[in-house]
Symmetry: none
Subunit: 128 residues, 4 copies
């Protein structure tokens, strides 16, 4: 199985973090259904051309968040999460991003009007 995850060499974000964000999104969005068996650590590491240790960290982190579940000797599965809970998490991810946007805007003293204008323009091309 091949996960639709891409890592950027250019980005300053640490490898493990780039992967976590994308895998988390796949689960929260429902693209990966509950119970799905993820690729093994070694397999994913080889797919993404990164260290096994990095993938291990990703799986551990997401397991700690309750999104994944590891069964000894079988592999790592997507946990069963209520649809409502998934919606909640989705909103919380987006809300966090919004907060960061507002912080940045506030720091450079961007007026509400300016901010709305810039947002409107960008939102036009938003095609999820």
């Amino acid at each position: 199985m091949r996960l639709p995850i891409a890592i950027s060499e250019q980005s300053a974000e640490p490898l493990y973090y780039q992967i976590e964000v994308q895998l988390r999104a796949l689960i929260i969005s429902g693209s990966l259904q509950a119970g799905t068996l993820l690729p093994s650590i070694r397999e994913l590491a080889s797919q993404l051309k990164c260290s096994v240790i990095t993938i291990k960290r990703v799986y551990s982190d997401l397991e700690a968040e309750g999104l994944l579940r590891t069964k000894q000797g079988t592999g790592t599965y997507v946990s069963h999460v209520e649809k409502e809970s998934r919606e909640e998490q989705k909103h919380s991810v987006v809300n966090e991003a919004i907060d960061q946007l507002l912080e940045a805007a506030e720091r450079v003293q961007c007026t509400k009007q300016e901010l709305e204008m810039l947002l409107k323009e960008k939102l036009q091309h938003y095609e999820p």
Copy 2:
């Protein structure tokens, strides 16, 4: 002179980065006028209770960006930046933050409608 800069011990962001972001914002927003003499590195270090070297790094980085100008034996000054250029930088900072928001939303497959709803709610409390 006392710069309105606050640093958070909790934040995972490195010290120097927190300070850079805020000082950059003060300049771009025009709160600090061109030609303003900034506090000496030693003074600011003592104000923010951090090492002289950390402040030195902040000033150097911002000088490399062209926002500051330091003269040895004299002090560090805010560079003269065109108002239009400031506006541009302001918008580019905000647009970057917007891009990150849209990326996050897209990843969790947030619909345009949902996103607009969440934005609308948060924007109500935006008071720059």
Copy 3:
């Protein structure tokens, strides 16, 4: 790996600057191919008998110029720079030095003839 860099205690030039100039030259000249893994900051520091921080500064500065690329936990690599761009940079380095020469000559009112004579003499021994 051992970089052919020599530092002079006599020179008034700061340590970090001496190293930067030489490493930059190695890259621009193509002596170090794109993708080459440089020695770790600790290793180079020990080779050149200077502080780790000094090397760190060198690598950071050259990274800011786009000549190097560092990946945390991995190491520091020579960036891929177009051959034409390298030629350009080479010429720009030399042209800058020529400008400084002409300025100096002009200041002491050295005639074109004198200058050419002195140049001719020195150029005889130029063996790159």
Copy 4:
């Protein structure tokens, strides 16, 4: 008396050094004849809009080089230097600049041919 000296705020060169280089050139080139009374420290400082301490340093340095001569209570004069000696110094100033050029060229592995080409081009516009 007004010396034709200009200082650049942009330059990274220290103030005292910029002034020294120019004043030295005025003397070596013969633009300032032996015996000429230079402006007082305070006067020159006010002309160049810099600190008295900076000019004091310039005069001291050039006096140490034997180019100037200070008489208590009267002022600072241009020393009498043999014409041949002046020529020598002129050449030594220029030769030093040439050496720096060659070093830079060598570092980036500029071939003799390339160097000569760049030099020829620049020399065309040399009008002392």
